[in-house]
Amino acid sequence: MRSRPFLFTLAIVGYVIMIVPILFVVLSSFTAGRTLSFPPQGFSLQWFQKALAYEPFIESLGSSLLLAILTTVIALGLGVPIALAIARSNLRGKAFVQSLFVSPLIVPELVIGLALYQQVMITLRLDSFIALMLGHIVILLPYAVRVTGATLALGDTSIEDAARGLGASPFYTFRTVTLPLMRPGIISAALLSFITSFNNVPLSLLLQSREFRTFPVTMLDYVQQSYDPMIAAMSTLIMAGTVVIAIIAERTVGFAKIFGGINK
């Protein structure tokens, strides 16, 4: 690598741009001072304590977790049957069906949010929480379909044939053979969906209400009004939590499988 200075330099520039802002955030959160500046002054955990005590943060954190879990479960419940139908049947126009259910990925999230805001909240006068859930489910569905679909496509169909040949009905086969073998795919899809929902800004921004605000949106509001290390501390906490989840995911499923699902 030392022998390719040009490429190496470009790579370093790339990593600096990616990592430095995050590094600054983490470092600034430990400051003993009162402002969010660099370099941090002193070392203290005061801002972490303040962040964990700040009501809006904690409340919206709970809301985001609830929303993410609910919508992930629903998206999987809708998406796994679709993936099965595509991978294990003689359906006509499979490619079309697949693109249909993956299409929300192409449409800008803000546009989806606006559509639901207009049609569900304003025209139908439904609760914003319903609109929010629907929006999240729509953008999670592509992950549920594609990632579990990839696992199914890689599997050996003769295993399911073997179960049928031994006398298992289609449903018994699904329960005892297909589903257990789909586990890595389902876990990957669940993790990806959870993260996508939890971190979502555009949808949650348009579809929020006073009663229900998500965590990233609360952070966004906070950054605009007050500019202090508490937000840095909160970010650092979230990052730590994410690292833990990532490590657990790696141990149970393996990174390669998760990110294999992202690529077009």
Binding site: D161, R164, L166, G167
Partner: protein
């Protein structure tokens, strides 16, 4: 431990001599015909092989028998009962797949027990049957392993045990040996034969390997392009191939048509070669309906136990002669391309074939 007899469904007590039957079975996809109106009878308690090149329809036929594919037309009878529309899970047939298809998330014992659990067999009897089947294939000591910890040959035997455990009326094997290395393949041929004769199961085996078929079968069915070319015992089929395709497939590489004999074929091992002009030895062909043809050597290929000598006759027909090399032939001078030789065959080794269809 006595080996219980298989080959019976739970309810039937007497078995028809025909375990399975195809009547006018076809499988057509759009414009391509995978199986073309075949009639087939599988004899009870015997090992029948479906043999042919890839694409001949043998695997398609097996899958129709198992119920994974519905025939486009015709009737399938299993032990006398019309089963054409029956789904696979209702046919009680044991199938071993080419890829073994073991359940990777279950142990060997659970794999074998799968069909029994389904049939709500009581725990004690289930365990006993699992142990019995694993012993039958020689894998009792590996009951708690997972499939990925086993070798290919071991996985295949687990697949066999799993299929046998449910006491199927037929055992279907789809190219079971093609994923094994050469030595294991030979070993498993004997194994499968032994298991079949010990249990008395009716077995249908699909393969493209003629040696396998010849060694293991009671009955052979040769298929080509969706049609049955010949059926019979290995001896019948081997010594009297019914047409050029069967002869060619079974290794008869020499096809001749001269002196108004019609199409005839002789195995490379049965042709005799002598340098031209040398008097014929006692016992070599000279009787009526044998022949002697002059030819020229074009190439010699050494294969260890024999040599394949390719020659060309006067009317430009290529022939292959397999010449055994051993102490009895050490005195013969080595052959070179261009040498003039005489090729002969005795009447008993010549097989007549019907004229070629265009």
């Amino acid at each position: 431990m006595s080996t219980p007899t298989y080959g019976a469904t739970a309810s039937s007590t007497t078995l028809s001599p025909v375990a399975a039957e195809f009547v006018g079975i076809s499988q057509v996809y759009g414009s391509s015909v995978a199986v073309d109106n075949i009639d087939l009878q599988i004899e009870q308690g015997k090992l029948t092989t479906l043999l042919g090149p890839s694409g001949c329809g043998k695997t398609t036929s097996l899958r129709m028998l198992a119920g994974y594919l519905e025939p486009t037309s015709g009737e399938i009878r299993i032990n006398g009962v019309d089963s054409t529309k029956l789904p696979p899970e209702k046919r009680n047939l044991g199938m071993v797949f080419q890829s073994y298809a073991l359940f990777p998330h279950m142990t060997v014992a659970d794999n074998v027990a799968y069909g029994l659990r389904l049939r709500k067999v009581g725990a004690k009897e289930r365990d006993a049957r699992v142990a019995e089947c694993l012993d039958l294939v020689g894998l009792g000591h590996l009951a708690d392993r997972k499939p990925k910890a086993l070798s290919g040959g071991q996985q295949q035997r687990v697949a066999l045990a799993r299929a046998i455990a449910i006491r199927p009326s037929l055992l279907l094997l789809d190219e079971p040996l093609s994923n094994l290395d050469a030595r294991l393949r030979v070993q498993m041929r004997t194994e499968i034969r032994r298991i079949q004769s010990e249990t008395g199961l009716t077995v249908v085996l699909v393969t493209h390997d003629q040696d396998e078929a010849l060694e293991m079968s009671d009955a052979m069915v040769l298929m080509r392009a969706g049609k049955i070319m010949q059926t019979g015992s290995p001896t019948e089929v081997f010594t009297a191939p019914a047409n050029r395709f069967v002869a060619d497939f079974l290794g008869y590489e020499n096809f001749l048509d001269f002196d108004g004999r019609g199409l005839i074929t002789v195995r490379p091992e049965h042709l005799r070669l002598q340098p031209a002009g040398v008097p014929v030895y006692a016992g070599t062909p000279s009787s009526a309906n044998g022949f002697v043809l002059p030819a020229t050597v074009t190439s010699v290929a050494y294969r260890g136990t024999d040599e394949i000598v390719t020659v060309t006759t006067a009317d430009a027909t290529p022939l292959k002669v397999s010449m055994h090399r051993g102490s009895h032939s050490a005195h013969l001078a080595p052959l070179r391309p261009g040498d003039a030789v005489d090729i002969s065959a005795s009447a008993g080794d010549i097989v007549s074939l019907p004229a070629e269809a265009a």
